[in-house]
């Protein structure tokens, strides 16, 4: 009797094992079939979602214009402290830079941002870097990764996390890197690129941000006060 039951359990194990293998095989097939279907069949609901996403994107583009007064914020810095512009004493302006870890254009500007901060923070214009990306959409842009990168590069400036993505839409940032130069009263004085050559710092002919600060320092209006650059789209939370 004991032997019989042993035999039953053995068969059970064998059958089970066979089923497991077979199951895996069919799942593979099913998954492949599903993939093919997914490629061909598309629900109209998705198109609606696109329109909604597009509407949001267009709304985002209506952020600050030069001359607008920007809002202050309170965002977590890589050192764990909460940072707001009001807390930066002696500042005569702020180089708000939406940037991130993963984007190659952001990476190409890391050293230039460090140099910019080292040159202009003592003159009252600190770099305030903000990562606007949703880390669930863009791997590598989470707070912990920001801390690691800031340490690796020894960022002399604050590197803040736009947790909940409230700040970047208000400013109207669309890409990384994207600079908003504010004066002491938080009036937006310049929006755009850091300079005119992302790829090679040595080939830069116009330093847009530096020129804008120099203009402010001499009591003039930055010219140009708005530029465009290629960059990575900001990764918004998927709704």
């Amino acid at each position: 009797m004991k032997k019989l039951i042993f035999a039953i359990s053995l068969i059970a194990l064998l059958v089970g094992g066979f089923m497991l293998g077979k199951n895996a095989a069919t799942t593979d097939k099913a998954a492949t079939a599903e993939m093919t279907n997914q490629k061909i069949n598309e629900s109209p609901a998705k198109a609606d979602k696109n329109d909604a996403a597009k509407a949001v994107a267009v709304a985002d583009l209506t952020g600050y214009k030069v001359g607008d007064k920007a809002s202050d914020f309170s965002l977590k810095n890589v050192d764990g402290s909460m940072v707001s512009l009001a807390g930066m004493e002696d500042a005569k302006g702020y180089i708000i830079t939406f940037t991130c870890n993963h984007c190659p254009y952001s990476v190409m500007y890391e050293d230039r941002l460090i140099a910019l901060h080292n040159a202009y923070a003592p003159k009252g214009y600190p770099v305030v870097a903000i990562n606007p990306n949703d880390p669930e959409v863009q791997a590598g842009d989470g707070f912990d990764e920001m801390v690691v990168r800031a340490k690796e590069k020894e960022f002399p400036f604050v590197y803040l996390f736009d947790d909940g993505q409230k700040v970047y839409p208000e400013y109207g940032a669309t890409r990384t890197p994207h600079v908003f130069l504010l004066d002491k009263e938080l009036t937006v004085q310049y929006i755009g690129a850091i300079d005119d050559n992302a790829r090679a710092a040595e080939d830069v002919t116009t330093n847009y941000v530096v020129n804008a600060i120099k203009a402010l320092e001499s009591g003039a209006q930055p010219d140009p006060n708005f530029t465009k650059a290629i960059g990575c789209s900001i990764k918004a939370k998927k709704g």
Binding site: L20, A198, I234
Partner: protein, 191 residues
């Protein structure tokens, strides 16, 4: 006796749990590997070299942004390093494949830097067997030419321009399906 019986029951239970567990992990794996699988569907592979990819300055490139011919142009700006660009690429590949016998031209304008062609762009095209034509746009000071591509463009990628003669549409967004591309193209052509 009863003891042994419960062991055999237990082994059954274990197997079923293992089965469903296995199923789940396979599903997840499949989802994660989906883009790779789509690449591998075509059996023949491309074997291009860096010299096969033309590099345009903006002046030369600008001529590609309009045409009097009755061809429908779909011009997509992308880069190998741009995640949303690579994610939407299968839909442009599918569109290209579906309409290859029609007057339709899908052009993929890469924003990869020329020094990355050999290392990044060529392997990308070959491994994926990417069929639509790829060119590189290489021009410094994007501020001087972004508005000439479209004044609506912020500079972020991906973007897609769809045009046929004087009908034209600009889209600074990601496409989510082949149907999305089809509907959008049809929308532009019915303007």
């Amino acid at each position: 006796m009863k003891y042994l019986f419960s062991i055999s029951m237990l082994s059954f239970l274990l197997i079923f749990t293992a089965c469903s567990g296995q199923q789940k992990s396979i599903d997840e794996k499949q989802t994660a590997e989906q883009p790779k699988q789509t690449e591998a569907t075509s059996s023949d592979t491309k074997n291009i070299t860096a010299t096969d990819i033309p590099v345009y300055n903006f002046e030369r490139f600008q001529k590609l942004l309009s045409s009097d011919s009755d061809t429908t142009f779909i011009i997509n700006f992308w880069a190998t390093w741009c995640k949303p660009c690579v994610e939407e690429l299968p839909y442009f590949e599918a569109y290209h494949e579906k309409h290859k016998n029609e007057k339709v031209k899908v052009l993929l304008v890469s924003m990869d830097f020329p020094k990355q062609i050999e290392k990044k762009v060529v392997p990308f095209i070959n491994n994926r067997n990417l069929q639509p034509e790829v060119i590189i746009l290489d021009e410094p000071d994007p501020n001087s030419w972004i508005d000439k591509v479209d004044p609506e463009w912020s500079g972020a990628i991906p973007i897609t321009i769809i045009f046929k003669q004087d009908k034209r549409g600009f889209f600074e967004r990601s496409f989510e399906s082949l149907e999305d591309v089809e509907t959008t193209v049809a929308g532009v052509l019915s303007r």
